[in-house]
Symmetry: C2
Subunit: 125 residues, 2 copies
DNA sequence: CCGCATCCGTTACGATACTG
DNA sequence: CAGTATCGTAACGGATGCGG
């Protein structure tokens, strides 16, 4: 039986199937979660407001929700777990860190296949 | 200047930034698009109803919308472009096929990191 | 101030019925 | 069989409030 994981506002993670791709998309299949991981991978630990200042402009409620879910799933954690929230940066866990090869492959694909549509794509961010 | 691509119902693809990860998520960052690619990679050409019968149960309007967008972006195409729609299977283009390493990395990550939450995850589908 | 939570209008999704 | 139309629901996105 799959364990129940809930998002901030009581939304349960629904595992649609036993397929690993489908299961990954059940938690990362949106426009923001992997950008949070990307920021942490490329820039190191980030505070709440660091994320807000990232180029794609995530809104505050979505950010709080995703940080909560990624924390529940043990992909990220606070640098100082016992410290106050203020200026307490998030960092990747081993599990989150291990998404790096996936993101590298995705970025490579994007550079090779989307430049026709979005010519300004850069080499790496 | 980025080229304008529209989804079935006039929704424009919005390139949030020049980051390759972000750009990939602008088109693949949802719960269904990569499952369509997965089905084509693992099972070969698929008809409209083949997709509907896949384990995660996509609904018809979402499927039609995603097939349209992926076709516009040249990730998939009809097997018989000039043929009638009926029984005309979709297949991957070179561009779609080259998402294979990304999906393999994602599946590996899922098997290694999500089994605690969704223990029924299988080796590969 | 910073890290969220709440409110609310808009958009996307999802189930189902329906059409060529 | 391959989609389209409709419509209720859920998620998003921006503005704003508030506590530590």
């Amino acid at each position: 039986m799959a364990k129940k994981i809930k998002t901030k506002l009581d939304k349960e993670v629904d595992w649609r199937s036993v397929c690993p791709v489908s299961s990954a998309l059940d938690i990362l299949g949106d426009k923001w979660s992997l950008l949070i991981i990307r920021d942490l991978l490329t820039k190191g630990p980030q505070t709440y407001s660091d994320f807000l200042q990232s180029g794609e402009h995530i809104s505050t409620n979505i950010l709080a929700d995703r940080l909560h879910l990624l924390t529940c799933l043990n992909l990220i954690e606070k640098s100082d777990a016992e410290g106050i929230a203020r200026n307490n940066a998030y960092k990747l866990t081993k599990s989150g860190e291990s998404l790096k090869p996936t993101l590298i492959e995705l970025a490579k694909w994007s550079q090779d296949n989307l430049k026709f549509y979005n010519p300004d794509i850069v080499e790496i961010v």
